[in-house]
Subunit: 161 residues, 2 copies
Amino acid sequence: MAARANFLLSQLGFHIAQAFAARLAPLGIAPNHFGLLVHLDGGEGGSQQQLADALGIHRKVMVGLLDDLEQRGLVQRRRHPADRRAHAIYLTDVARQLLPRARRIADQHEEEVLAALDASERVELIAVLQRIADSTGNSPGVHPGLGSASRSGNAGASAGE
Amino acid sequence: MAARANFLLSQLGFHIAQAFAARLAPLGIAPNHFGLLVHLDGGEGGSQQQLADALGIHRKVMVGLLDDLEQRGLVQRRRHPADRRAHAIYLTDVARQLLPRARRIADQHEEEVLAALDASERVELIAVLQRIADSTGNSPGVHPGLGSASRSGNAGASAGE
DNA sequence: CGGTGACTGTTACCGTAACGGACAATATCG
DNA sequence: CGATATTGTCCGTTACGGTAACAGTCACCG
């Protein structure tokens, strides 16, 4: 029963998300903040709505995320040059210094997760996971859940013994 | 960036948990209820504390879970023969009729998740996932999170583009 | 046998977070 | 210019996890 891909993926996924959040915590950001920063690093100046669409979240959630990041001095809300309703979001220099550290943490975590696998197994696992994600309709960069990633281990059981 | 096992596992895990909850919803139970029922099917008569320990959740959460299941007529709280403080938890006949249907839903979901893989790939994937779960310290039947499994897709982004 | 501590199940309380509706400001279209 | 949609924000409600506290009971120990 604990040998279902079903259960294993869900269990592992949550465990990994938790562990990653814990590793990222010392930097003062959560996984969703990290994802947003990485996305911004790939293209700044978009509106909050555009960012929300790209990450598959609601505008209101983006407000909160940006509030957090702005308070930590990691992003700036400037006036949008073409639409005075919208904000244009930009990374700050502080964020540009923080991002490499966060990426290194992600690398370390990846290494820890895959510690039991050799190189070829890792490649194959990722390929298989991508195929599953593709066939089940997961968007490449969109991650459901992980609200603010401050969940502590607690309830739930998707497969008893 | 969307090619990290890190991110893929977390994304897939959450997506799968959500989909499974949706599939189970018509039966009126959530994944954690299902896990508890399956566990009870493997051995009844235990105390709530024993069940909570086995599933890795807090007593208080078990109270709520059993309240739900008892209200739906799926479990019974009887007096514990050896400890008058404790309750002995038993499945009802209704639960015994419901369980096969729930298991079939789980099987269908498993099939859907693994649709893109052939038989040997499925076996190997499960073996690899079990190795990872083992090396990262996941208990066999314990699933963190999935509180009441009523989360709807919302925030979070663990890897932008 | 009495007393003390520990345990079980439950409830009450609190802080947090998600969800929905409503709102001002602005853009777009007729 | 007027009507409608969009952007970002705020507020109120609801749900949930976590802690503390409680009554009832057990286990130990003198």
